[in-house]
């Protein structure tokens, strides 16, 4: 159970942001660093019955039950066997007015980069071939294209029944 702390040196300003970039297969993705709670190594999860395959299960994260999602499978990039080097990024999403923590399985975390908001391009429309609903925009980092993910949309697993009973 290793934990790496991510420390940015950037002074946030109105038009700059820091992203944490990671790889899935040949592709580079990024999330807003402020949404990253921690980075952990993969550990076995408890399976949850009757849910989509990419929802791997739940783990105990300091007393909270946190679901783990395999991003590769979510994006249809095939499955990679988990090893102790597999990384889980714990993200915070704001869904229906509450903050929720969820872990996403990625191949490897690459870097923390500063980007200027002005260089973010809107996602081109690929038609129906590629689902781009989770992608906020594209940015070029060191001549590589990074797809910026919308954490809230990505992690909204709620089925549309809106059954939001509150249990303590």
């Amino acid at each position: 159970m290793q934990q790496t702390e991510v420390v940015g040196d950037g002074k946030p300003s109105a038009d700059a942001m820091q992203i944490l970039s990671f790889t899935l297969g040949q592709e580079e993705y990024g999330v807003d660093i402020l949404r990253v709670q921690e980075i952990r190594s993969w550990e076995p999860v408890s399976r949850i019955p009757n849910v989509p395959g990419y929802e791997k299960g739940v783990v105990n994260l300091r007393g909270a039950i946190v679901p783990i999602i395999d991003l590769r499978e979510r994006f249809g990039l095939g499955h990679l066997d988990y090893s102790p080097l597999t990384v889980v990024v714990v993200l915070q999403a704001y869904i229906s007015g509450r903050t929720r923590a969820m872990g996403v399985v990625v191949d490897a975390v690459s870097d923390v980069v500063d980007i200027d908001k002005s260089v973010i391009q809107t996602t081109p429309n690929f038609g129906v071939k590629v689902s781009t609903e989770f992608i906020n925009g594209l940015a070029a980092v060191n001549d590589k294209m990074v797809m910026l993910l919308d954490v809230d949309k990505l992690l909204n697993l709620e089925s549309l029944d809106g059954d939001d009973e509150h249990k303590e």
């Binding site: 408890s46 399976r47 009757n50 739940v58 039950i65």
Partner: protein, 692 residues
């Protein structure tokens, strides 16, 4: 620098509401001449008045002023304690509660009801005991007072605070401002006591004043202003009576003089036109219907507050425990640093210590959330008092076991169902006095609210000695409503169960007391949602007993862990009926409904866990290879087919929905000893799943 008063509001409201509760309790138990009770009520009123004055809630302080004066007269015996006075005061307590709630939630005050209550108080005040100084009535006593009052031209006050007056939160300037409102004021200040600037502590008060207030002011109003500081100053108040100066002692905390008492604040003097009240009738202190709903609503918002008052003793034990835990931890890490085999015994000792501490710590943390059930019970004396008057019945309420502690969440969720049950007992259970006499029972009916612990549960009983339930009537009613077949054979228990069925109400007509469209089925549903159950036992002519069983806390449950392949699930222990091993030959297939098996004379559905949860590693696929656990939850019975039973343990319930979502067939999750997560099964959900 001004102090932001708002930061104290929370405390003021909390204390005021507590004060109001104390007043209510005191008033309900008020017997003639019970000085202690009257003192308690008076003190509470006085604190609310003082606090609201300080924060500038003038409407509240004016209102309380009248109450306080009434109470003061009761306190010194110059006014008899009458039922009408008590009723008016009770009404005023309600009114104050509404006012404070409105101020706290920054809603609009219901000025009409406030005015009505104020009028009622005023009338009560004028009708008994002493005499309003401004009235033309010249009774002997009143005369003397009036004379004395009329001769007063003003007061001269020598006020020298002790040095620590400011530290008690009092402020001379504020007091003088109040004085100035009474009449023209002149003040000379004496700087004599002020030390050299180097020795001056800004929090100390070294000044003293000579004040004179001119005007026809009753002594009580002057005393009122200095009442808060009488222990922190030297005070001399002299009346200037038409040239003669009469010297008075400093006011004593307990006044026995029936001197000049009261003049209502100006706001009350003017008769308030409400248009709703016929001034020949005493003001109706029971608010109208729509307001009732509003009151209920404000009560429920009040419940949402998430702070909790904890006995400091509980906190102290907690701190001690943590200290112990730290010591144990450091001992264990010492052993771990240089571990040799001969230290094994030490290690075992340390570990068992750790286990003990952890358990104790868990218990005391849970304990913090525990509140005595009196938080719920305390509202009932009032409810019974008001309702029995309304229904014209004579009813005595007994509370037993008020100190029994339950988890805060349980306490909050209990109050609505209990109110419903008690109203039911009063309305349908207890008979009218003449009916009771005819039946050879005492006129006064008894309702007992009792709470006690049994096992890991709390049991709350509502017992009445009323007319009881008529089994034949219940049955006829159920048949009429089409809830059961005409030839259904029911034992006693099942007959009484009928009352909890949806769409069942025995009251011939809905009264506004209990039949508000909410039936016992809703009460039962709410209790079951808390993981409890509710039972009714009754004897015709003797009375009924309704008992509610609830888990002590919603955070922990006793679980039985079961294995299905590699996976572990937790079944709530309370829902397990029995476990058995049966062969496939005892299974009947039901078209479209899955499988059932026969247990004694019931056919129960079989839920094959490995199938509905898609567990590939399941060991047992044939019934004979595994175990059938017969479970019952929320009225649903079924047999869960699992590989094996493992151990029983207490598990801490964690929400799956906090970060994830609802999973059908699962009510929550818990963390096992090895840190892994296990799901807690939800019986009705599983049955639904297996029928899909």
């Amino acid at each position: 620098m001004s102090i932001d008063m708002a930061q104290f509001h929370q405390v003021f409201f909390e204390e005021s509401f507590e004060g109001l509760d104390a007043m209510e309790t005191g008033l309900l138990n008020l017997d003639e001449g019970d000085i202690d009770a009257i003192n308690t009520i008076f003190r509470a009123a006085h604190s609310i008045k003082g606090g609201s004055g300080t924060f500038g809630f003038t409407s509240v302080s004016d209102f309380t002023h009248v109450m306080e004066t009434l109470l003061d007269e009761m306190r010194d015996g110059s006014r008899p304690v009458t039922q009408s006075a008590v009723d008016v005061l009770l009404g005023s307590v309600d009114c104050l509660r509404e006012m404070l709630t409105a101020i706290r939630d920054q809603q609009n005050l219901d000025t009409e009801s406030v005015a009505a209550h104020q009028q009622a108080l005023q009338r009560e005040f004028e009708s008994g005991g002493s005499v309003s100084p401004r009235s033309d009535d010249t009774g002997v006593e009143g005369n003397a007072v009036a004379e004395q009052a009329s001769e007063v031209e003003g007061w001269r006050i020598a006020f020298s605070p002790h040095t620590d007056l400011l530290r008690t939160g009092n402020d001379p300037v504020r007091m003088f401002r109040e004085l100035a409102e009474l009449g023209d004021i002149e003040a000379t200040v004496d700087f004599q006591g002020v030390p050299d600037i180097h020795d001056l502590d800004p929090e100390e008060c070294h000044l003293s004043w000579q004040l004179s207030v001119n005007g026809d002011i009753p002594r009580a109003e002057i005393d009122e202003i200095f009442a808060w500081v009488e222990d922190e100053c030297d005070l001399a108040i002299q009346a200037s009576l038409g040239g003669v100066t009469e010297h008075n002692e400093a006011p004593q905390a307990t006044q026995n003089e029936t001197g000049d008492r009261f003049s209502a604040p100006r706001q009350v003097q003017a008769p308030v036109k409400t248009g709703t009240n016929d001034s020949t009738k005493p003001a109706d202190s029971s608010p109208a219907k729509p307001k009732d709903a509003k009151k209920e609503a404000s009560k429920s918002t009040q419940k949402g507050s998430s702070s909790i008052r904890v006995d400091t003793a509980k906190i102290d034990t907690l701190i001690n425990m943590v200290g112990e835990l730290v010591i144990t931890q450091s001992m264990l890490s010492l052993i771990g640093e240089h571990f040799e085999v001969n230290k094994l015994d030490q290690l075992k000792n340390g570990l068992s210590q750790l286990e003990r501490h952890t358990r104790e710590l868990q218990e005391s943390v849970m304990n913090i959330r525990m509140l005595p059930i009196s938080f719920v019970f305390s509202r009932f004396p009032r409810l019974v008092h008001d309702l029995s008057a309304k229904l014209g019945k004579k009813i005595e309420l007994k509370l037993v076991g008020e100190q029994t502690e339950v988890d805060k969440t349980v306490v909050e969720l209990l109050s609505d169902p209990l109110v419903h049950l008690v109203r039911n007992s009063l309305d349908h259970g207890i008979e009218m006095p003449e009916e009771r006499r005819a039946a050879g029972k005492p006129e006064i009916g008894t309702v007992v609210l009792e709470a006690y612990h049994r096992g890991g549960n709390i049991v709350i009983e509502v017992v009445d000695d009323g007319r009881g339930l008529d089994k034949d009537k219940l049955r006829a009613k159920a048949i009429e409503k089409g809830l059961i077949e005409e030839d259904a054979i029911l034992n006693d228990k099942q007959t009484y169960e009928l009352i909890f069925m949806p769409g069942f109400s025995t009251a011939a007509q809905l009264t506004d007391v209990s039949g508000r469209g909410v039936g016992m089925d809703v009460v039962r549903k709410n209790i079951q949602a808390l993981g409890g159950n509710i039972e009714l036992v009754s004897e015709l002519g003797k009375g009924s007993t309704i008992s509610i069983h609830l888990p002590l806390t919603l955070a922990i449950l006793d679980g039985q862990s079961v294995a299905v392949g590699e996976e572990r699930f937790i079944v709530p222990l309370g829902s397990i009926v029995e476990s058995m091993n049966i062969g496939e030959d005892r299974v009947n297939s039901v078209a479209g409904k899955g499988e059932t098996f026969r247990l004694r004379n019931e056919y129960l559905p079989i839920v094959r866990m490995h199938e509905i949860f898609n567990v590939e590693s399941a060991r047992a696929t044939q019934l004979s290879e595994g175990l059938l656990v017969v479970v019952e939850g929320q009225g649903v019975k079924c047999g869960l087919f699992v590989d094996d039973l493992l151990g029983q343990q207490q598990v801490v319930i964690k929400s799956l929905e906090a970060n994830y979502r609802r999973i059908e067939g699962v009510s929550g999750a818990t963390i096992l000893g090895d840190g892994s997560v296990a799901l807690i099964l939800d019986i009705p959900g599983l049955v639904r799943l297996s029928n899909q």
